[in-house]
Amino acid sequence: MTDQIREQISALLDGELASGEISLLVRRMERDAELRRAFGNYVLAGESLRAPGGLTASPGFAARVSAALEADGAAVTTPPVTGRHAPRRWLRPLAGAAVAAGAALAAILFVPGGGEGGGQLAESTAVPPAMIVASLPPGGASPTPAQNQRMAGYLVAHGQYASAIGRRNAWSNALAADPGITRVALEIVERP
């Protein structure tokens, strides 16, 4: 793997890779199993793993990332309309080249925790679950119109109760919500 690719992966994980380059990188990952594995290792290495509050990656995450990358190789070009795993539901109604690239990345990045991660969380409300966060670049995985409208609705309602400057910021974000949004898929794992 060349330094340039390393830099691109790093930039991607920092959300700083241009959308054109994202598409190229994704296409390359599609062809290159080694690159997909390397990408998984990068995710694990912490470039993209934000572990706020000292949360830690689950054992075997690297292996599962690699497995997911292998398994999702085909999904890079054709994200499934209805996948085995609930998380993929938000890949469906996406359009546009950059968005498609982002969706593919989402397919790569998201590591389903057996398909019922949300359910596990629901049962363990007392303790914030340990979780793994794989970040997507800004605009990488655009929300559906309904999700966008919903987020904007939340921000407008929230802004009504914020401080004067908080309201201005929240509402500015609602106005700008479309292009700057970043969505992050989370894998929930049980805390040991």
């Binding site: 409208q149 009504q160 908080g166 201005r168 609602a174």
Partner: protein, 339 residues
Amino acid sequence: MRRVLVLALAGVVALAQPRAEAAAPTAREWLERMTESLATRDYDGLFIHTAGQQSETMRIVHRMEGGRSVERLVSLDGSGREIVRTPGEVHFYMPDRRVVLVEPRSDEGSLLKALPAPGPQLDSLYTLELRKGHRLLGRDVRVLDVRPRDEYRYGYRLWLDQKTAMPLRSEVVDGSGKTVEAIHFTRLEVGEGIDPRHLRPEVDTTGFQWVRAGRRGEPRVAGPPSATWLPRKMPPGFRLVVSRVQAVPGSPIPMQHLIFSDGFASVSVFIEPAAAKGPAPSESTTVGSANAFSTQMSGHVVTAVGEVPAATVRDIATSLAPVDAELSRSDTAPGPAER
């Protein structure tokens, strides 16, 4: 003569002491002045809103009408979206979706007192520092740094107009010092004479869908009887200030809306019944300085939204739990947040 001198000296000491102690309150007074100016002055300004790699020009027009503030915020070169706050409602025009979201305005009466405002508690959560800055827009400015003492909230850097305390520039800064959102005014008129016509939306709403939230429930100051969901453990300094039931535009089902505040930053939590489709994964969303975390528990979707770090909305969302209504009545009111 000596007595006079002693008295004079005592006077100097007496004057000097409060001044030395007043360093922090002065910064706080600037913060209070800014909040008051934003809420009560008439102004019309253009600003650049920057979040991540996106920049957009926006306009804000604010006027006092009959003792109530009305305002309009519009994106000039992006989506064309507008938010207009009238005396009775908030209208959110989304031309990109051909939708207008309408919800009742929520700042009436006693509720105002519960809303976030700079207070003495701030000192335990933030350090405030005031200094002189370079001129902006031809005006002298004071720079106010609001730095959080922990990682649960963002910092703010505010460039305040010396005369009016209006923020001519503001930045939201994360724990690593990175600016997550910036607002930079390129033009600002402050004072009377702001034309009310500029408060009217410019969007042609022909054929738009109007989504009206409706008054499902009046906002209430927080108290156990009104809260069927309560936090078990909150990030330091955050406490429940308002609990209400409301219909959020875009959602068919009324939901519970809880507002938590640390006196400066605030986080909203929306709780609604989960769709029957089965559990969905937890999700984190970032829009500028706003983070959201959505998760499912006890058959509900809990979404926390606020201008705070992602970990804070996550911690708040995951700390909530349904409480038995009877039990909550016999409980004491939710006190200051646990550590």
